[in-house]
Structures are given as C-alpha cells and as structure tokens.
Symmetry: C2
Subunit: 329 residues, 2 copies
C-alpha cells in the first residue's frame, strides 16, 4: 500500500525482507517479483524516474511504440500495489549497515519533514541517474524540447534521427566520439561544446575529416515550438539550423546514500555479478546505476534477477514449510 504519515510508526517497526530504493522501471519490476516471491517489500521513491521523462518508448517488447514512460511507470506501480507491496514517496538520506539489517533514514514530506528509519535484510539500489542538460538561464527553454526531439539516448532514439541534421551537445573531449555513433544514423552531424571546454587537436582534426561542423560558442537558446526544436541561437549571435539533437553531457548518479560503502565501481557505475549483486553481499544494484546498457527493458530484467537471488537466499535460510505446519493436515 501507499504509506501515509499515519502508517510510519507501524512500518518502521518491521524488518522488511527487501527495500528497493527507486520506483522506476527497475525498482518496480524488482518489487513485483519480490512480492510474487512472498517477500515483504518496500519501495522508496523520490519521484520522477528517468523514464518518467520519456515521451515514447520505442523498443520495449510488448508495448506499442508510442507508449510514454509515465504510462509504463503507472501500470507498473498499480501492478506492484495490487500485490500488496509497500510504497513510500520519500528521499533516502542515509543507509547504515547494521550487520544483519540495513537502517535506512528517509526524508518524508516536503514541508514539516519527518525522518523515519526503515529496516531490511537486503537492499536494492534502483535510484538511477539523470542526464545533465545544457545549463541555460531559462531552463524552461531546455525542458520544452528535452525528451521530445532533444534526445539523451542514442540507443533509444538514433533511429528517429535517420538522415536528419542532428546537433550533438557534448560536455567534454571524451564524449565527442558520440558524434560518430550519431554518424551511423545520419551524415549531417553538428557538434556543440557549449563553450565548456577546449577541443583537443585530435578531436578537431577527426571532426574535420568527417565534415562535421564544430560550434564552440555557448548555446543561448534552443529554437522551435510545440516541443519540436529546430535549431539553436548561440551567444555569438549565430543561428544554427537543426532537425533534432542529442545531449551527451554526462549523468548525475542518484546514489549518495551508498557513500558510506566501499562498493566496487567502474567509472561512475556499480559493478554487479550475473544476479545484479554488488561487491556487498546484501546490496544489489539494478538499472542505470550499474555497469551496462541504460535501457528500460534491461532495468526491468535486472529487477527480476536481484529479486530472484534475494528469494533464493532467504528461502534457503528459512527452508521449506512442512506439511504438518499447515492447517490442512
């Protein structure tokens, strides 16, 4: 059930089998599996998962190509709640390893916040990432187009850009090669540094070889209307025409609550085994937080893996019920 303030005293008394931090695709899938394994489960969600912003899921098997991320999340949350899973809207501030259990301190309520502490045996980190967007004075101008034809994921939306004139907005020299991946879908690639860094001579040379124009003046404003971006105005006053764009400026990882743990990372991502377990035996990481493809279908599958492994361990520890324990004996 959706946990209200009134229920906090009761819910902070129990020890959950698993707490899932993040109510996006990965977290909801994990929650559905956990509940179907008869495990007590709490999902703590701060809201606005990355998929919440997706206008169209183009490649999720079983859903029509124009399904919104929001609708997937809604169906998933209803599914989870129908299995009697607990769901809390809150922000996880800290996780403490108590040995057998984790203590999870949550900020609940925007005003007059309270800080309940929940406990669980296993933790699933499913809080994902969010993409950095170009920082303009008027961020509404960015949000007008982001997730529409100003994309953040080439795997998801490269197909949509076929043969279009595409602006690639990069945050550092390291990600300039994204332009050549865009170049798989279209030869018309324009690269924007947003004035954030000095382009290396090697990158400059290679872009030139490909005939991809480079724009180093910061973006002043995205142009277009009705969520369709059709160009940018730069600070130097020039206007560059585009038909769509991809932002590749890195991501913010929503996992500050794991700072106390010395978990194995690769870049910013958590390293996990085949069952989505991190280097801590009772902490799993699923979806965009872990090494791998940032795709909704992958996050959903990760949820199944983590939940199944947790079930196996709890089941083996508790053992099977005996007939005599039942009431039908």
């Amino acid at each position: 059930m959706q946990i209200s303030k009134e229920l906090l005293p009761k819910k902070t008394e129990q020890i959950y089998d698993a707490i899932v931090i993040g109510g996006g695709a990965g977290g909801l899938s994990a929650g559905i599996y956990l509940k179907r394994y008869m495990l007590s489960t709490l999902i703590i969600d701060k809201g606005k998962a990355r998929s919440f912003w997706m206008q169209e899921l183009h490649n999720y098997l079983g859903l029509p190509s124009n399904t919104t991320g929001r609708s997937l999340l809604k169906t998933g949350k209803e599914h989870y709640l129908s299995l009697d899973g607990d769901f809390l809207n809150g922000f996880v501030e800290e996780v403490i390893d108590e040995g057998e259990t984790f203590a999870i301190r949550v900020k609940f309520g925007r005003q007059n916040s309270v800080y309940p502490v929940f406990r669980c045996k296993y933790l699933i980190a499913a809080s994902g990432i969010i993409d950095y967007l170009p920082q303009l004075e008027d961020m509404r101008n960015v949000y007008e187009f982001a997730g529409h034809n100003l994309h953040v994921c080439l795997i998801c939306d490269g197909y949509e850009m076929t043969d279009q004139v595409v602006g690639v907005f990069v945050g550092s020299n390291e990600v300039i090669p994204v332009a050549y991946s865009v170049g798989w879908f279209t030869p018309y690639v324009k690269v924007f540094t947003n004035g954030l860094f000095e382009v290396s001579p090697e990158n400059r040379q290679k872009l030139k070889e490909h005939g991809y124009p480079l724009f180093e003046s910061p973006v002043q404003k995205f142009l277009g209307d009705n969520h369709q971006m059709d160009g940018v105005e730069l600070e130097d006053g020039s206007v560059v025409e585009l038909q769509s764009g991809v932002v590749s400026m890195g991501s913010k990882y929503h996992a500050n609550y794991l700072e106390n743990f010395d978990l194995e990372h690769q870049g910013g991502n958590l390293v996990t085994d085949k069952m989505a377990r991190t280097s801590h035996p009772r902490i799993f990481a699923i979806g965009d937080l872990k090494v791998g493809l940032n795709q909704v279908i992958i996050a959903a599958a990760d949820g199944a893996l983590a939940a199944t492994q947790i079930w196996r361990e709890i089941r083996r520890e508790k053992g099977a019920q005996r007939w005599a324990e039942g009431i039908k004996s």
Copy 2:
C-alpha cells in the same frame, strides 16, 4: 515483411547483418533493436514459442497481470514488422560457418517443402526450449491443463499456488528438490515420479521429514474440467486430490542446428558473456537457451544486449558516415 515463397529467390541473394532463429520474446526483442539500429534482419520462426502457451504473464513490467503470452508475441511481431524486419515461418535445419558469413538452410512449407539457404554475418540463437510434459496415452488430457493450473515454471507461478495442495511431477531424483522450493509457497506438496525412476533413499527420507507424500505409480489421467486440474488418477487405481501442479521433467532444447559448433555449455545451456555472446564471436544466444533465468523479461533484455553488441561491431567496422556522403551537403 512476412516472407512468402515468391520472395525466397530475392531474399536468399542478400547477406543479412543478422539472422535471429526463433520468434519468441527474445527473438522479437532482438529484431526490434536490430531494425532500430538500421541493420538488415531476418527472424526465422518455427512457431509456438514457449511463451505462446502462457495463459497469463504475471510479472512482466508494463503489462497487466492477465496478459497472454500469445498477445505479447502478437504485439512484438507487429512492432518488428512495422520496422520493416523480415520474418519467415520455417524450421532451421542446419547452420554452416563460412568464415565471414553463416549459411542457414531452412525447411519452408509443410507440404511440398523447399529448402532455401539464407546468409548473414551474425547469428542470434533464440529458439528456446519446451518443457517435457508427462507422457500419457491421451496427450489431449495433458494439454487441457498445461499452462493453466498445471504449471511448468515455479518462478512464474509459485505465487498462484500459495497454500494450495500442489502436485509436483518430477522426472528424476535430481529434480526432487523442486518440491522444497514449492514448499516455500505452500506446505501441501505431493510428489509424483510417474513411475519413471527409483527414488533414492536420501530423497525418500527428506520427503518424509517434510511430510510430503510420494506417489510412484504412473499417472493414468489428470482429472478436472474447464482447464482446472483437481487431481490425478494413477495406474494403481488410486485418485489423488490436488489444487494445482508443477511439472519439472526437464526441457527439450531447440538448437539442433548448432550441433556442428563446439560452443561452451553449462548443462544443456549455452554459456554467454555480458552481451549474450557465446564462445563463438559471431553467435549470440538469448532467452532460455542460455545459462540464466527462464523469464520473458530476461529474454527480452537479452535481445537488446545481443542486438546492441552486433550493432557496435558492424558500426565500428563500417565507420561513421561523412557529411559529404549525404545529399544535404
């Protein structure tokens, strides 16, 4: 498009980027991703994937809990065809590695069969498994209940058996421990050997400790009506009441076409890396054929992994398009 006999001469001339053997959840997901990566793709499907038999998908994120496997496959195939993917109804008889390409010989047409040979650079084995069912004289009696309340997957349907009297139909001593996994969901477990093997003293003792009755006479007939099994009649004449059942008698692997390849296996399953690649650099295996959980959501995610890796390799080999190659220069 759906490949008809008339199209065979044309389609056997081209070299596909990838051919997917199997049009189940994994194969369709791979096909959708491949097409969205602009790769030429053929799915060859013999029909009746394992998921085709599923009456209710209970735990696939984004779909209501009563979605049939058949409906998922239909939506997925429509999605794939809408992306201009090629789809052939046929049975793969043989795969030959020609070095740069694979030659795939297919039996096409039930009557007056022809045997076209298709070629591709990469192969995705997605042809899955099918569960062995108890072999009765009248198999219609088995099919009446299989996939309804005579289940084959505990992970999928354990929840449905909660506190029910469940018959566990096993094919060997090795799988008797499935009874104790069922014992997570209900204490009322009855084990049937179907007369196929001699139960080991250890298994006998442990079942006794759990109070799980053992029936060693072969099943004569499943009882019940309207797809709801409510017991079995054994050859010794006894009738045993049940509320549902799980069959765990092993699986047939649909991958004879890989016999010529010395691929790494674990048990009957193909070993794959994190991108679903087998020990052969151009053969991927996804879904139930590979080591891992046999779940629809996992197969769908596997499809995304294999397709993405194939795209990366082809993309890196071909390189990015240059602006001058386009027509908008």
